[in-house]
């Protein structure tokens, strides 16, 4: 009886299934098959015939390879630098923008600082190569003005990681401030009214109302960022990397691209990205549980 009703429903809704079919076919081909394809990490790739299972062979090679460990170290350093030095900037920016009342100036600032978010990293790299040019780049013009010698930042091992952090800030700080601005808008105006009656200055209002109210948004965004910790910014590094600095900014993703796509070591490269993926999932799950314990709120 029940089974009959189920069949009746499915037959009745056949149009819906037909409309959903293209999407399901698409996801199955372009998402599920690559997911299954990750089993390559435990195999040796053969051009002709079936791949051979080799267990953890590639992982053993991976962890005994100094190149891989260097890349892992770079990924962790660059990601940590970004979290420490980039993460607070959009928050500060949103607090500052919030002090500017609606008007042409605020509109101007917001339209300008969102702009770089829409540019590809190829374009941004072009802009930054020009900005940092040792011949007449803007930064070196400023340095020369203060009697400092020109520096070639893009090929300097000491500076290139900072170039990554600062160009990331240049691109994303404005855009990322949107989410904090939205959170600030949601704070009840009553709180500010009460504070004003008590004679709080705008700085005190920021300190005792805006910042505490913003904290839960900050925590959520922080956790989401931690989930992407192992990414470290592939597009950016892929474009800014060069032979002089490859040893300090080669990250897991660029490494996988090089050994996989360029050198054709498919299985080994898949093992490296599977390792990265597993760490990512562990990071998301653990920060989720920590957040749930601490604030009672998780990511989902």
């Amino acid at each position: 009886m029940k089974e009959k009703r189920l069949w009746f429903q499915i037959k009745r809704d056949w149009v819906l299934y037909a409309m959903l079919l293209p999407a399901l076919v698409y996801f199955s081909i372009f998402h599920v098959i690559p997911l299954i394809g990750m089993k390559l990490a435990f195999q040796d790739y053969r051009i002709i015939g079936d791949n051979v299972w080799v267990g953890l062979k590639h992982f053993n090679v991976l962890f005994s390879s100094p190149a891989f460990l260097d890349v892992l170290k770079n990924t962790i350093i660059i990601s940590s630098m970004k979290i420490i030095f980039f993460f607070p900037v959009p928050i500060i920016l949103s607090l500052i923008i919030n002090e500017v009342r609606n008007g042409p100036f605020r509109k101007y600032v917001q339209s300008v600082i969102y702009l770089p978010h829409f540019l590809s990293w190829v374009v941004i790299t072009g802009v930054w190569i020009s900005l940092l040019s040792p011949v007449d780049g803007g930064i070196n013009v400023i340095r020369n003005f203060f009697q400092l010698p020109s520096l070639d930042y893009m090929t300097s091992k000491d500076h290139i990681r900072w170039v990554l952090v600062i160009s990331e800030t240049w691109r994303s700080a404005g855009w990322d401030s949107i989410i904090y601005l939205a959170a600030i808008m949601k704070i009840s105006p009553g709180l500010y009214e009460a504070a004003k009656i008590d004679g709080a200055t705008s700085l005190q209002q920021m300190r005792y109302i805006t910042i505490p109210e913003l904290l839960s948004t900050v925590v959520t965004v922080f956790i989401l960022n931690l989930g992407f910790f192992m990414n470290a910014g592939f597009d950016q590094v892929f474009n800014m990397i060069n032979d002089s600095v490859i040893s300090v900014i080669d990250i897991l993703d660029t490494y996988v691209y090089r050994i996989g796509i360029l050198n054709g070591q498919y299985a080994y490269a898949t093992a490296a990205s599977l390792f990265k993926g597993v760490i990512g999932v562990i990071l998301i799950l653990s920060t989720h549980f920590i957040s749930k314990k601490v604030s009672g709120k998780g990511v989902w």
């Binding site: 959903l20 690559p34 500052i96 020009s130 474009n239």
Partner: protein, 292 residues
């Protein structure tokens, strides 16, 4: 009106400097691309006005077959890709947002799992290779046919369409596909516009997949050519324009100015649509509530 105190003055000052830090490097490139090639060396990194005025860089770039071709390739990939994106995403969003059927929860769970687990580069590449899509535009257009996150955003837009309208159509005997095309799509234009911009920007900016999937330079989108000139500093294909220029003009060309011109060209569509983008994109991003 707020009183102009020291704090507000400092705040305005900081924000003004922040905006300059973004504008000056871009305006400097613009100035470089419009400068007279013989005087471009006078232009310093903080200058925003061209030294002399010349369109020679753009003449060279637009007489270069590779550049012109790549612009059309980019426009084609963006238009075709976005159209397919919108149609497939909207159809799936309609079914998932406005109807109830056996297995709906299962489909949504499937989508969430897909959103969370990224298979990584190599399995993707091998799939595209096995499907015979290497060196085909389809590798770019089909590969990202539906973005799960955007699908969820569009579902939210569809949920806002009032039930009464759909109910009326149903009573008039309209089937699901008819309701979808005749009612849902026209009523959700702002949502579709937002999503169209999301997808179009993605396609316009895509270079990485094009770099690995397209080996034939005639099929390259603009971003790949740009990367070749600006990042790889490979100018061999750039200077193939001798036939339109005199010998002196070719000798006077400045590679940096040509690079600047290419960067500016690739930014034009974005700048043209920027007011519309700002209107829709920021709202869409907030509805999604997550950064991409």
């Amino acid at each position: 009106m707020k009183k102009l105190t020291w704090t507000t003055a400092i705040i305005y000052g900081i924000l003004f400097l922040v905006s300059l830090s973004i504008l000056i490097p871009i305006l400097n490139l613009l100035a470089m691309s419009f400068s007279d090639p013989l005087r471009v060396h006078e232009l310093k990194g903080l200058d925003i006005f061209p030294k002399g005025f010349s369109l020679i860089n753009y003449e060279v770039l637009f007489s270069n077959p590779l550049i012109v071709r790549s612009i059309f390739n980019s426009l084609f990939i963006t238009a075709a890709g976005t159209a397919l994106n919108l149609f497939l995403t909207a159809m799936a969003a309609y079914v998932l947002a406005r109807t109830n059927f056996v297995g709906k929860r299962l489909v949504i769970l499937f989508l969430i799992v897909i959103m969370v687990f990224e298979p990584g580069l190599i399995p993707e590449y091998l799939l595209v290779k096995d499907l015979g899509l290497l060196d085909s535009y389809l590798s770019l257009i089909l590969y990202k046919a539906i973005n799960v996150f955007y699908l969820f955003i569009l579902m939210r837009f569809f949920e806002d369409v009032p039930d009464s309208i759909l109910e009326a159509a149903r009573i008039d005997g309209a089937g699901h596909f008819k309701i979808f095309t005749k009612i849902m799509l026209p009523l959700s234009k702002p949502g579709l516009a937002t999503l169209g911009l999301f997808y179009a920007i993605y396609h316009w900016n895509e270079y990485f997949r094009a770099t690995i999937y397209l080996t034939d330079p005639n099929k390259w989108p603009l971003q790949v050519v740009l990367r070749q000139f600006v990042v790889e500093r490979d100018n061999t294909s750039l200077l193939g324009a001798q036939n339109v220029l005199s010998y002196e003009q070719v000798a006077a060309l400045d590679f940096g100015s040509l690079q600047a011109g290419t960067i500016i060209i690739s930014m034009v569509p974005l700048l043209v649509f920027y007011p519309i983008i700002l209107k829709y994109y920021a709202k869409g991003a907030l509805e999604g509530g997550v950064k991409d």
